[in-house]
């Protein structure tokens, strides 16, 4: 294909997207617009954290112990250099939140990606091949579902800690979290994709592909996969909120990110310890950001589910 | 006086590119005991007309023009709960799929008795008698025994007979039958058609029979209304419309149906396809496919007019009075 036809195709795809029902629906939904603006702000804050932050909270040399436990700037005794106050180690809460948000989102996205890849592959395989393969995959999924997600995550975490040498714990923490959260969440994707695959497999376009000698792999990847991805997008969105929350919970319980590299959950844990001495700002601000993030992501996911479901429109 | 008359009915669906008319200016009337066939391609508006009459237009669609009169009473402006009382009691409905029209967890008898008691002042025992009687009338063998069985214990054809009994047991004056034979096999279809005719004759109920199958219309209906792109293009007695159609669409349609006993080399065909509701041309909607297209057809929409029995919406028949 020549360049011009290629660019024409891209342009028409873009035009189609802007003209689609989803785009129209988006422009007419307040929830979708507000939550996506909020998400964009939070994503931008996380992405540009090093530029937006006033200090690097991981760099101990930048911390001035004299400035510890200062209240937010607008409260009496506050310091204009520390907008949201400082914690007991004199870390700027505002900067910690930016860096923490960054870590929370990295863990969230990576674990969702892991869960989606594992879940989609297994669901597609089970739904398409059927029989013993399908049975085995779905039994594993059933067993996994009968444990609370947090328990599975704790288990993975515990195993990882047992296997790794103690001096590697801090570095490995983020990977352990991604693995733990990702492995607890793939079942949802697998079940959804399996169901849709079993429906698509019966359709005549798949029979036509079989008649025309397309291999099983080719049918799964080129024919069925594009047609089962719609619901996956919805699950992935809602799952992102869940993953961020699970990460926060694990970190709050002390099995997540270490205090030297605090995520939002770690910040809340640290702040919680000082709450009774009246230092409310260390726990309140990270909590507000966490709630805002999860709420916005969930609202967007709910909207997406309704928008993609023609029956509800 | 007509039992039901529909006048200039227009149903619109607001969409993202403005409002789209599913049906436009549909007028028709039906007398007691008459079977009126509504025929057309998918999307022509025949089912929408039926749904409008029983007050079951899916939102956001709504009637934006015209009205529906049942025995002289305006029914399109009634509140939902008033319309619910009319449905079943005065207008019955038979749908395409007998399986989804019946409640699978109730016995056939329970469903019939409930419907009878909702609309008629009868005791439980009397209602049961009535229900058995109806099952017998629609041709269910051994109705005394079968009344206490569940819908899944019936075959497809028997199930559709039960649906017909359910639609008629409250003794409505009008029944809307939307593709009642489409889901059935040919040999069963013939039985259901004959049953509908027999019941219309016996009970004096009027039937609006919505179908895409000209054969079913020919076998069943007294009059037929042919719909195209949301409008009635021709309406008249079945024998006349089917043997000597006036509208070019009806003519093309009748010619394109393969017939037993004739094996032409090429079937006469209408070129192109019916426009979607949001892309109907100005003027006559059939003009782009019409072999007799004139200049006027491109910009002026023909009205439905004609004699006492037969009406056609076409500029051709306007100029040459039939």
């Amino acid at each position: 294909m020549t360049d011009t036809t290629q660019s024409r195709t891209t342009a028409s795809t873009l035009a189609r997207l802007l003209d689609s029902d989803i785009a129209w629906n988006f422009r007419h939904s307040w929830t979708a617009r507000i939550s996506s603006v909020l998400i964009l702000i939070l994503f931008a804050a996380a992405l540009f954290a090093p530029m937006l932050a006033t200090q690097n909270p991981y760099d101990i040399s930048q911390l001035l112990l004299l400035d510890s436990e200062l209240p937010p700037a607008w409260v009496e005794g506050g310091d204009p250099r520390y907008l949201l106050g400082t914690d007991e180690q004199a870390r700027d809460v505002y900067s910690s939140i930016l860096y923490g948000l960054r870590l929370s989102l990295i863990v969230g996205f990576a674990s969702v990606a892991l869960a989606a890849v594992v879940g989609i592959s297994l669901g597609l395989l089970g739904g398409f091949v059927g029989g013993m393969v399908d049975g085995a995959i779905m039994r594993v999924a059933d067993i996994l579902l009968s444990f609370p997600a947090i328990l599975v995550a704790l288990l993975v975490n515990g195993i990882a800690r047992g296997v790794l040498p103690p001096d590697r714990h801090a570095d490995a923490a983020i990977w352990v979290l991604i693995l733990a959260i990702g492995l607890t969440n793939w079942v949802q994707y697998a079940r959804t994709v399996r169901g849709s695959t079993m429906v698509e497999r019966q359709k005549e376009y798949v029979q036509a592909a079989r008649i025309n000698g397309v291999s099983g792999m080719g049918i799964m990847m080129n024919h069925i996969l594009p047609n089962v991805l719609g619901p996956v997008l919805v699950i992935a969105t809602i799952n992102l909120g869940m993953a961020v929350l699970t990460e926060a919970t694990l970190s709050f319980l002390g099995v997540g990110m270490p205090a030297t590299q605090p995520s939002l959950g770690t910040l809340i844990r640290i702040g919680n310890e000082y709450l009774f001495s009246g230092i409310w700002w260390v726990v309140i601000f990270p909590s507000v950001v966490l709630v805002a993030l999860v709420l916005a992501v969930n609202l967007l996911g709910d909207w997406l589910r309704d928008a993609l479901n023609p029956k509800l429109r | 006086m007509a039992l039901l008359s529909v006048e200039n009915l227009t149903v619109a669906f607001p969409g993202r590119r403005g409002s789209v008319n599913a049906i436009e200016d549909v007028s028709l009337s039906i007398s007691p005991g008459e079977i009126l066939g509504m025929v057309g391609e998918s999307g022509a508006g025949k089912s929408m007309t039926g749904a409008a009459i029983i007050g079951l237009i899916e939102p956001p669609g709504r009637i934006v023009k015209g009205g529906i009169l049942l025995e002289g009473q305006r029914i399109d402006t009634l509140r939902p709960e008033e319309m619910r009382r009319i449905r079943g009691r005065r207008i019955g409905a038979i749908f395409q799929d007998p399986l989804t029209s019946l409640n699978p967890v109730l016995t056939v008898g329970e469903q019939l008795i409930e419907t009878i008691q909702t609309h008629l002042r009868l005791s439980k025992a009397e209602a049961r008698e009535r229900a058995i009687d109806w099952l017998r009338r629609v041709g269910i063998p051994a109705p005394e025994a079968r009344i206490d069985t569940y819908p899944h214990q019936y075959s497809g054809g028997m199930r559709q007979r039960v649906v017909i009994a359910l639609a008629l047991c409250a003794e409505p004056r009008l029944v809307i039958a939307d593709e009642p034979t489409t889901a059935l096999d040919v040999s069963v279809q013939a039985q259901i058609i004959a049953l509908l005719r027999k019941l219309a004759r016996e009970t004096g109920v009027a039937v609006i029979l919505v179908t895409h199958d000209m054969g079913v219309i020919a076998e069943t209906a007294d009059r037929v209304a042919v719909m195209y792109a949301g409008r009635i293009v021709e309406v008249g007695p079945v024998a006349e419309v089917l043997t000597a159609p006036r509208h070019p669409y009806t003519r093309g349609l009748m010619a394109s149906i393969p017939r037993i006993g004739a094996r032409p080399d090429v079937l006469p065909q209408i070129e192109g396809a019916m426009p979607r509701p949001d892309a109907r041309p100005g003027g006559c909607a059939f003009a782009p496919r019409c072999p007799h297209r004139m200049d006027i057809c491109g910009h002026t929409r023909p009205d439905l007019n004609g004699g006492a029995t037969l009406s056609v919406a076409c500029h051709l028949t306007e100029e040459v009075p039939a």
């Binding site: - | 497809g156 013939a190 006993g261």
Partner: protein, 339 residues
Amino acid sequence: MRDPILTVSGLKKSFDLSQPFVTRLMKGGERRYVHAVDGVDFSIERGTTLSLVGESGCGKSTVAKLLMGLTRPTGGSIRFDGHELAGIRAGQPSVVRRRMQMIFQDPYASLNPRWRVARIIGEPMKSFATHPDPVARRKEVDRLLEFVGLSAADGEKFPHEFSGGQRQRISIARAISTKPEFLVCDEPTSALDVSVQAQILNLMRELQKELGLTYLFISHDLAVVNYISDQIGVMYLGRLVELASAERIFSTPQHPYTRLLLETVPDITMAHRDMDRPAGEVPNPITPPPGCHFNPRCPLVNDRCRAEAPAFRVHGDAQVRCHAVQEGRSDPKKLRKVG
């Protein structure tokens, strides 16, 4: 027959409907099978059309799937131009499979909604490597689009941008892209509106003439079958009950079931016949009646019909599976009186 391209003999397919083994062991159920296709024989001469008609559950669509290798036969043989196909599955790009293609019933489900039309039509040419070069393939796709009455620019569009009739044209273009000799058409017009049906039927006849195609046409609509076929096979509960030329079937139907079918077709020329007679319905295929499957609905039934399944025998210039016809007790006049 002079030059049959396809010969099917003793073709059988049964599906296992039994409960899982453990459930059977505990509740004591028996193994249950449904014989969807129960010994079917026919052959099709090159360049002609054989139609299979019958009501739902008669097995006609299963025959189509068996021929295309979408499901494996339980028994019997399928010979295509001298090659035995009963063991070859679909999906093996063998030379023989390229020569057989299929057109499906539902124009909305038979085209991948996420693919552009050019890719859909090009897929068989790519996978059977008849046009491995993308540029040459695209050229061929454009030619095919115009051949079936669409335009080359339509290749860039998605299926949802087309009407049902246009989609069926796309489906036909895909089917003829590998230059097949034999097409299985499974109710190709039953999802279409009447005015569009004529377009597709005419296109199919034109293609047959121009490309010398052989058709196996599956339908429940006798009028359509009458227009398109040379030979007609009538199926009932997995068995062929009558096989004859189209003229013969419509002028002098022999099997009581064929007669019932012909009588009950709603016809625009025969208004207001009264047909509310107890003609019954197709029984559950899991538990078909013993003997001749049609015996509970047959006006000519006797004890032999209830006990012994009739054989598929040549009778005149037709093949019929009926004791009454073979014994000469199927007087048409008497039949009508009973009906």
